[in-house]
């Protein structure tokens, strides 16, 4: 009978200690310049610790069985499910819409080359031709005689909103994003995780042909100071298969414009 008051006392005591620790964490994190979200995270850890230490000194749960155990189990599973789904939903969520258009562009060439792509292309063409024929028939019926058919609606846009053909640098920048070069190479102070060199001045260090050689065969050139990364073959040897030649040319055209001597892009060394 004495267990209940002592447990409440335990909860209050640990709760106060936990609140003090949480407040200290919050204050220290603020003083050290942590953004608010991290301060709350530290307070959450203090709260977790408080719950754990309350549980450690909680009175023993009496044994029960039968229908009471079944109900307790079902309630337990419900709580676990809600906590896990809720917990996962609380983390920042990646927006698949950011990726969808990118995937279509990345796989465009392969889709065209594939059987499925060929079949789909035929279907699209057949549909466009059918629409065009319908349109001509309608006009003929309206005008009572032969005339020049209007372009089928949407037909011109079937290829998507590609940049103008002359804008090869813009296409190259798009390839930089699509191939996620920024994951390893820093550019204009953004991206990169020390896996590859900063490329802000690469245009002054490599000729376009040499850049192309490096992209298609990563073993051909090595950046000075990146011996370890070169030995570990950090740069994937896959772009000759994943990218079309025109895309590689566009990427090279974009890289060739990067001529910022203020950034210390490491000197490339010919290896092959």
């Amino acid at each position: 009978m004495n267990e209940q008051p002592s447990f409440i006392k335990n909860v209050v005591k640990k709760g106060i200690v936990g609140a003090v620790i949480g407040a200290v964490f919050f204050g220290a994190a603020t003083a050290l310049g942590f953004p608010p979200i991290f301060r709350y995270m530290f307070v959450a850890y203090a709260a977790l610790g408080t719950v754990v230490f309350i549980l450690l000194d909680a009175p023993a749960l009496p044994t029960f069985g039968g229908i009471k155990a079944v109900v307790a189990l079902l309630a337990f599973y419900l709580v676990l499910s809600v906590v896990y789904i809720g917990g996962a939903s609380l983390w920042p969520q990646y927006d698949p819409e950011d990726e969808k258009g990118k995937i279509v562009k990345l796989l465009e060439a392969k889709r065209r080359a594939s059987e499925q792509g060929k079949a789909e292309e035929l279907l699209v063409r057949a549909k466009a031709l059918s629409e065009k024929a319908d349109s001509i028939m309608q006009r003929l019926q309206t005008l009572g005689g032969p005339t020049v058919a209007a372009p089928a609606a949407g037909g011109a846009k079937a290829g998507g909103a590609a940049p103008a053909s002359g804008d090869i640098v813009a296409l190259g920048k798009e390839q930089w994003e699509l191939q996620e070069c920024y994951n390893c190479h820093k550019l204009e102070g953004k991206g990169g995780k020390k896996r590859g060199p900063e490329l802000d001045n690469i245009g002054n260090l490599l000729k376009p042909d040499e850049m192309k050689e490096k992209i298609l065969d990563p073993r051909s050139w090595m950046a000075e100071g990146f011996e370890k990364e070169y030995e570990k073959k950090k740069m994937p040897d896959k772009y000759k298969e994943l990218m079309e030649e025109k895309d590689v040319d566009a990427l090279v055209a974009f890289l060739a414009t990067l001529k910022n001597p203020a950034v210390n892009t490491p000197k490339p060394i010919k290896k092959k």
Partner: protein, 567 residues
């Protein structure tokens, strides 16, 4: 379930496999569209369910045979009973493995016929000959092992244990064989300087099987299966403890729960390192996989994984805490103050060391080894000790600290592209998000858990365990551990599959469907929870029909607890 019913179920599973393989040879087979879930999620659900059942039927026999051997060697009938009861559940779940396996192939062929045909053609010998033969062999040995349990006693027990070993060998080979095509989809064989498409055309079956991630995946799954089997044994024990009618049954199932948890946690200690090995090989295969996994689209999946691992370690330590409460004389157990000091210092010292001397620099090992061995070597010469309760409370504190380090992200964003200053770790503290800190956190979790078990072991030696008198909350801890282990398996399974990005086979066979994007963590959590619940329902049903139904029969044997070897 009777033998003929099980056989029928197995036959159905095999027929489905062969039927669908034949269907795969039909050119241009039309695809179907699964309503509500879509095709990809439909495959995900069936594949994950199949893997969960398969993990149990491959993991459980490993410790079943060890338990049987221990029972024989120690002449303790509890081990034999544990082994047999887990085997009963395994036999039921074996049928479910075959059924879901057949269903998996069927759904895969109906939804992705071209890719499935392509994969089957590349691994034809495995899918058409090796795997079915192994499966049939395993079925025969499994049923032989189970049905000879009572007949092969006494002098013939060694023969029965040998059969169990054979079952495990076949099971492990089956796992390694099927891991070939699975790992191939993540890291298809390649050769330096050669085009991957051309190389695959000329590559031998062994080249394809022995790809970058095959060995690490084998190890990860093997250890993971034992962990999973141990926690499911804990679940079985918890259910039976809750339904026990007398103290004798409660004492037995309390013991069984303890053993299950011990197996689960024992194997769990190796899992983070096996996971690292797999991730290392994946990143080594293609460096762009790493940021996708850790910094971009899947980064929050790893935050959730960190949370789950932390909860699992907290729960397994809490179970030890509750177990210690029922040991008479536990208050006499004390431990060197050095151990506590090392526990507290470990994450900070190792973060600093690994930051200065990154893995695999041997200097870091030269610091780590003396540090963890310090209490063992010098502990007995230092007169200062702390009580076991105080030491375990410190270990809880360090599990929370270790988990906090594990979970600290570089930024609270799902992808690096959206990182802004208000959501990013300050520059001076960015080391908390790097691998040296994460490695230190993993080492800390493992070390403090080992210390807790050492303390428990000392308590057992110096005190007396009162089996059956454990805090009832411990049964919920066992259930929690099983649920969380399954959930984490589902989460990491989803991560491994998603690493292929918009490819069926990475960089080789593109997925042109509209579903080839990275789903959100919340969406994934819904399905993972659903799959976990379905698996739980089936396992709970299997436990109830196999163990509860046969309880009355078992009582007759338990009344005369003669040593196994004497029977």
């Amino acid at each position: 379930m009777k033998t003929w019913q099980r056989s029928l179920l197995m036959l159905f599973g095999l027929l489905t496999v062969f039927g669908t393989t034949a269907y795969a040879q039909v050119p241009n087979a039309p695809t179907v569209e699964f309503p509500y879930t879509g095709n990809r999620t439909a495959v995900w659900i069936v594949a994950q369910l199949h893997i969960l059942f398969a993990a149990f039927i491959l993991g459980a026999p490993i410790f079943v045979v060890i338990s049987e051997w221990l029972g024989y060697r120690k002449q303790d009938p509890r081990y034999d009973r544990l082994a047999k009861e887990v085997m009963k559940v395994t036999v039921i779940l074996y049928s479910m493995t075959a059924l879901t396996g057949g269903l998996f192939i069927f759904v895969l062929l109906a939804t992705y016929p071209q890719f499935t045909t392509w994969l089957i053609n590349h691994f034809f010998l495995i899918f058409a000959v090796i795997y079915p033969l192994l499966f049939i062999g395993e079925t025969i040995v499994l049923y032989l092992y189970f049905y000879t349990w009572d007949a092969w006693k006494g002098d013939r027990k060694a023969r029965h244990i040998a059969l169990g070993v054979l079952l495990n060998i076949i099971g492990t080979v089956t796992l390694f064989v099927i891991d070939g095509p699975t790992s191939f989809m993540n890291t298809p064989a390649k050769a330096e300087g050669a085009s991957i498409v051309e190389f695959i055309q000329t590559a031998t079956l062994w080249d394809k099987v022995f790809n970058y991630s095959w060995l690490p995946l084998n190890l990860h799954r093997l250890v993971g299966n034992v962990t999973f089997g141990g926690f499911i044994t804990g679940l079985i024990a918890a259910y039976m403890y809750m339904g026990a009618k007398d103290d004798k049954e409660r004492a037995y199932y309390d013991w069984m729960g303890f053993v299950g948890n011990l197996i689960g946690v024992g194997a769990l200690l190796f899992l983070p390192f096996m996971g690292y090995l797999l991730a290392y090989e994946l990143c080594d295969y293609d460096a762009s996989i790493c940021p996708y996994m850790m910094a971009d689209q899947l980064s929050m999946f790893f935050e959730m994984q960190g949370a789950m691992i932390g909860l699992i370690f907290l729960a397994s330590n809490y179970y030890i805490w509750l177990s210690m409460k029922r040991i008479e004389g536990v208050e006499r157990v004390r431990i060197s103050v050095l151990t506590v000091m090392v526990m507290v210092a470990l994450p900070f010292v190792m973060t600093y060391t690994w930051d200065r001397f990154p893995v695999p620099d041997p200097t870091s090992l030269a610091v780590l080894l003396p540090l963890v061995l310090l209490p063992v070597v010098f502990g007995r010469f230092i007169p200062f000790t702390v009580s076991s309760r105080a030491a375990i409370k410190v270990s809880f504190l360090m599990v929370i600290v270790g988990n906090a380090i594990w979970m600290t992200p570089h930024g609270f964003v799902a992808t690096g592209a959206k990182l802004v200053e208000e959501l990013e770790l300050p520059g001076d503290w960015s080391f908390l998000a790097l691998m040296p800190a994460k490695n230190s956190a993993a080492i800390t979790l493992v070390f403090v858990t080992v210390v807790s078990y050492i303390i428990y072991n000392r308590a057992i030696k110096q005190g007396t365990i009162v089996w059956g008198k454990i805090d009832f909350a411990s049964q919920f801890v066992l259930i929690f551990l099983a649920f969380s282990a399954i959930w984490t398996m589902g989460l990491m399974g989803a991560v491994r599959s998603l690493l292929r990005k918009y490819y069926h086979t990475y960089n080789l066979v593109p997925d042109f469907t509209a579903e080839s994007f990275t789903p959100t963590l919340a969406y994934s959590a819904w399905w993972i929870t659903g799959i976990t619940l379905v698996f739980y329902i089936v396992v709970s049903f299997a436990i109830l029909i196999t163990l509860r139904a046969s309880e009355s029969k078992a009582h007759a044997h338990e009344d005369s607890p003669a040593p196994v070897g004497a029977k």
